[in-house]
Amino acid sequence: MVLKEILDLFLIFARIGGLTFGGGYAMLPMLQQEMVEKRKWATEEELMDYYAIGQCTPGIIAVNTATFIGHKIKGIVGGIFATLGVVFPSLVIISIISAFIINFATLPVVINAFAGIRVCVCVLVINAVVKLYKSAVVDKLTLVLFLAVGLLMLLTPVSPILLVLLSGAAGLGIQLIKAKGAKK
């Protein structure tokens, strides 16, 4: 019985993973329908909490949310299998596409198509950065952090891991000083 439930978890998340184009946020309406309305595995509020935490913990939001829901329903094993389910379709699809790319990458039509696509990808990333910027840069200090991290990444060979660690520490430091100032 337990086995069947775990298999169910895997299959449901595999379906969600296979049908959501565009990653994390595209998954939300599907999760609301499957998890909240149909199966009552989680409430709307819980789902929102999972998203908020998924966004501010390392890792991919879709993966984090799957782990949360799986864990809630069937403990650690549930968390693991829900997560494996959500990435399974990508794994299959991309393996097939990879074999295709590696074999056909030298065809002129493929080269030209990807050169055109590259322009589009660049534009899509710019649009995403603008959105991110608006939600992350809320005052002068966050603007300074944004610029400092961006420039260091562009102009020096510094590791992004180090920049993430330092920025977290900087955020903590700045806010602690602010909190202290407010108390006085």
């Binding site: 296979g18 049908l19 959501t20 184009f21 565009g22 990653g23 994390g24 946020y25 935490i53 501010c56 913990t57 390392p58 890792g59 991919i60 939001i61 879709a62 993966v63 984090n64 782990t67 968390g79 990435v87 379709p89 990508s90 794994l91 699809i93 991309i94 393996s95 990879s98 790319i101 590696i102 080269i111 030209n112 198509a113 990807f114 050169a115 590259r118 322009v119 589009c120 660049c122 534009v123 899509l124 649009n127 950065v129 991110l132 910027y133 992350a136 952090l145 944004f146 961006g150 990444m153 060979p157 992004p160 993430v164 920025s167 977290g168 955020g171 903590l172 700045i174 806010q175 602690l176």
Partner: protein, 198 residues
Amino acid sequence: MALLESLAMLFYEFFKIGLFAIGGGLATLPFLNELQVRHDWFTPDDITNMLAISESTPGPLGVNMATYVGFKNCGIIGGVVATLGLIAPSIIIIIIIARFLRKFQDNPYVRYAFYGLRPASAGLIAAAALDIGKVVVFSGTVSFASASAFFGALDLKGILFGVLLLVLTNIKKLKKIHPVFFIAFAAVIGIVFRFGGV
């Protein structure tokens, strides 16, 4: 033995990305750029190609890129191992957090740290975007030797098309259109106008 070593290396590198890429979506992008510089596993073009594929297929960029890089270097097993490496830190961290969910969310120290992490994540991704932009704006190597060399390297076709797309994707009525259609459109334009130069 060599295969086992490569698999361990794949797992380790993608585990690190899974551990430090915060914010989902494009958050893995700067780390992939950095990984590309350190290892010969894939080319910068592979990253933009995979970005396009990730927008057009289900699944997040990080997972797709892990699968692709693993597959390219060690076949199907490589794709599986790299992807497991990427998601392993999330599974561990989320299972720990799930045990004290509310406390984590309401913890002021966590909030304070994210005040700094969010703009850093945006900055990292902006830098990665500029790296991609460089490939679009210039064909071949960028030269600052003289004005004519600099302007000669500009890829006018690419720039023009980029500006057009930037306008199109930001028109309110067109915003609901799925990115996959813009990507397909770009592929057609690329083939018709020979963007690859072949």
